[in-house]
Amino acid sequence: MSALVGVSARRKRTDRLGRGLLLLATLIALVPLLAVLYTLIQKGGGAISTSFFTTDPNGRFFGDPGGVKSAIVGTTLMVALAAALAVPFGIGVALYMVEYGKGTRFASVVRYFVDVMTGVPSVVFGLFIYILLVVTKVGGGFTAWKGSVALALLMLPVVTRSAEVVLLLVPDALRETALALGSPRWKVILRIVLPTALPGLVTGSLLAVARAAGETAPLLFTAFGLSNTSLNLGNQMNSLPIQIFNDVQKAQDRLVERAWGAALTLVVMILVLTLVARLIQRRSSTA
């Protein structure tokens, strides 16, 4: 009876020590995250105003330097086109690997290359598109759509891998059921697998979009920059990362402050996307 009562002092101490260490590690990891947010708000908060979102950078040496409207529009457009390119292809590749190529050598080779691509630095994609499309002057020199292609290349492995994981989560029993009902495989995929996996596919794609939205290097070599708001993807186009990159090197405090404001804007945009992704995921897990 007595053996069941009381926890030894040593075990209690070890337990407290273990918990304490883990808590400490968590707190330390939080410090830089919070510091980044704090600095962004402290330095960039002052730049935020209505005109910050409604005017373009005007290049004036003195006075109001203008806002970042062209950069927000540019980032939105280029990332949207990149997503339109990368998401269908990425999900397509994942569908092939999970539904048709399962267990084949080809599928595992593809999976290996996708993994390698995930690790390729973004500057390499930028350079690749620069050599392939910009230097060769395909449809003009620096253009926004080439920036989108570079971003799409960057997103492709992220979309593919996340889609593959989500598709693998769809129980085989569901596929079997549908097949046993006399359904052709393509219908099983369209009617059963994709709807079941949909929330996860959306989440994975949004996270890839969030990652691409913050990339500077691929755009530096491809879409370059243009202060004015442009809706023409066949032209040069401004973007938030490029705007930050340019402004922060300037001597004027007003421009540096605009860089901080643009950085804050970018972080908030990505935060919202991530939140949406989370919400979609949560809704699906309760359904």
Partner: protein, 308 residues
């Protein structure tokens, strides 16, 4: 894509009357011998007005001829010959891993869905070999329905859509979908329980109801044969009883192949029983004989609980 066209019905008049097995003593069992006189080609949904039993129909015969099934190099079914008679419940019993599930999955060609799996030999649905070169595998699965061990309604679909899914997925539109759903749910004995909440998620039903929903989904496609792979092993005794009653009902229309772990279940509802061991068919006879006076010693050891 026409599965019916390749399949011809066999005359089942040689079957004779009930063989006095325990299952036939159920009150629900009213065999309609008149239905056997119907034309051999079974058009879907032509009812037999001359019979008092509207739901009865000719089942179809399934014969296995030296069927062998493999997973890669290992042979799971080692040359089995077996006849599943029309309008009968045939139970497959045997210990885990004896190949009974593999065997029935060969009948509707689901076995080959597993990477590396293949089958040899013949599976005749009436006279048509489902493994013949020209046969459309999708049509085979429409003709031979399957109910799985775990109730598996599609989670994204409502009760209605789950039942309709079979029809929609197989592209086999047969008149009013609402009517099909109601008829199938009635056929599965579930209509009264769910008629007021057809729009709710199929996963909201109890396990037993989910399994009957899956049966409704299977019969909505109007198959000729229904394979049930341990349909009650995930259900409680009350739900099991309901599904067993349903199976005895269903055999008036269909040929039923029932894989079961539960020997009592086989004894309760099967007309014929096949005992399998390590991929081989040991004995196949009337259920009563298998359980009371089997020819093979291994069968006797198994049904008396000496192993397995």
């Amino acid at each position: 894509m026409n599965g019916k066209g390749t399949v011809e019905s066999m005359d089942s008049a040689d079957l004779g009357s009930d063989d006095g097995s325990t299952a036939d003593a159920r009150p629900a069992e009213t065999h309609a011998p008149a239905s056997r006189e119907r034309t051999p080609t079974r058009a879907p949904e032509t009812r037999a007005p001359e019979t008092h039993d509207q739901d009865a129909a000719d089942g179809h015969r399934v014969s296995l001829k030296s069927l062998r099934a493999f997973y890669g190099d290992s042979e799971a079914v080692k040359g089995v010959d077996l006849e599943f008679e029309p309008n009968r419940v045939t139970a497959m019993i045997g210990p885990s891993g004896c190949g009974k599930s593999t065997l029935v999955r060969c009948i509707n060609r689901m076995h080959e869905e597993i990477p590396g799996a293949r089958a040899e030999g013949e599976v005749l649905l009436d006279e048509q070999d489902v493994y013949a070169a020209k046969v459309d595998v999708v049509a085979v699965r429409r003709s031979i329905g399957m109910v799985f061990q775990k109730p598996n309604p599609v989670p994204t679909m409502s009760i209605f859509d789950n039942v309709a899914s079979g029809v929609r997925l197989s592209g086999k539109r047969s008149g009013d979908l609402k009517e099909v759903v109601e008829r199938s749910l009635r056929g599965a004995g579930l209509w009264e329980e769910v008629k007021d909440r057809l729009g709710e998620a199929g996963l909201g039903l109890s396990g037993g109801q989910q399994q009957r929903l899956c049966i409704a989904r299977t019969i909505a496609v109007q198959p000729e044969v229904i394979i049930m792979d341990e349909p009650c092993s995930a259900l409680d005794p009350v739900a099991t009883l309901k599904v067993e009653e349903l199976i005895s009902e269903l055999k008036r229309r269909y040929t039923i192949i029932l894989v079961t772990h539960n020997m009592q279940q086989a004894a309760r509802i099967a007309d014929r029983t096949a005992f399998m061991l390590t991929g081989e068919m040991v004995e196949f006879a009337d259920t009563e004989k298998i359980f009371t006076n089997p020819d093979d010693e291994r069968t006797e050891d198994y049904v008396t609980g000496k192993f397995g």
